[in-house]
Amino acid sequence: MSKATIIPFGPQHPVLPEPLHLDLVVQDETVVDCIPQIGFVHRGLEKLVETRDYNQFIYIAERICGICAMGHSLGYAETVESLMGVEVPKRAEYLRVIWHELSRVHSHLLWLGLAADAFGFESMFMHCWRLRERVLDLFEKTTGGRVILSVVKVGGVVRDIDATQMAEIVSVLDGLKDEYTQIMNTLLTDTSVKNRTVGVGYLSAEDATALSMVGPFARASNLAYDVRSFGRGAYGDLSEFAPITDTAGDCFARVKVRCLEVLQSIEIIKELAAKMPAGDIAVDVKGAPADGAQASNVLEQPRGECYYYARGNGSKNLERMRMRTPTSQNLAGMTVALKGCDLADVNMIILTIDPCISCTER
């Protein structure tokens, strides 16, 4: 066994769309330890609650991350609503969940493309991103934005989706589902994909519990934890919802869980579109959060559970706003999964936790 060497990985690296630096301690071709260094994307936006009022901050909240933008604006709005005791109309809840699930479809397709690119399957990358464009077109038609939607406000949503647009969403998703199923079947049965992913980056259910892993990363290690199954908001009206899990705990399991979640999200959108109640899309919110009022909230982002905490001080500005994002949880599991892997598999393991660095560092 040779002497241990440190190989720097990132912050600028072809497989990483975002800056993350890892010091990989390598002995021969095996990674024996991994020391992450973060902070390249830190902006310090939680402090902006002191200078922006609670209505303005929603635009900052959704710019925590461009991929989970819809989720962050939704999570923030729900937190402030529970802080102020605001009841959101049923139709607004449905619309929020429809956009949120659409953004899960776009996020998972984006991730699937990047993961395929990481193991050298470039045509799959292009196909996934081609399908993803259709979801972005739906966003553009219904909200005006492609990635930053700015459609949620405290008290409801700012735009309605009428019956014609809803029918279009359903028909686009039906078309997407057919093509996506073909891509998914290719990916999940292909031998070269299996050679790169099966048995790589294993994380046991015990480790996943001990390290508080969340999202598809945890579900691939057989932890059936999904905030959506709590049945809050429009999720409570679904006829059935069960988290998608896998027992293998390796990279292939993580690919599989996310692949199946796309289909699950499409079903959720179609069911809610059929059940859509009539009525208002927003209520007027007046006043300010009471001094000392506190609220917390959890939301299932595409990458896992995100926790929000807010405290009021009697003025229009919040006293404190805090988020704990899924990737900051999952980085701990990633360092465990990396230990003992081959140097060539590092890309694959990092990609399959679906890291979102701008969420993590804010």
Binding site: H13, P17, F40, V41, G66, V147, I148, S358
Partner: protein
Amino acid sequence: MAFASKSPWVIHYDGSSCNGCDIEVLATLCPGFDGERFGVINTGNPKHADIFLVTGSVNEQNIGVIKEIYNQMLEPKVVVACGICACTGGVFHDCYNVLGGVDAAIPVDVYAPGCAVRPEQLIDAIVAGVAALDEKSAALKAARKGA
């Protein structure tokens, strides 16, 4: 510009952007907008790149990385600031860890504002970048002849 004199290879680095512009940079190169029809290829190596696409603003931690990538690129080279954060700092301009736009670290040739920047705008910016690249290349040649 009636024709592109060069197939520009680009390198992308995420300063402290929210990802919105990064995924639009990648979407520009993917089938929906197909930036590759202009010969644009995304490369991971600064020494192969002609155009440096920076998203997001500059902070204490990444200013060294941005300067390093810029210095490793060969002349002539062009910097495109993608998105409003890269241009001025955007909504985060008054955050304590934001030093400003990319021009706080390196000279910027083309500004492409937007939150998030639209792929059409990025294609325009890259085409403008090719024109700037031509000018710089002509100036380099003239300087060499003069010397």
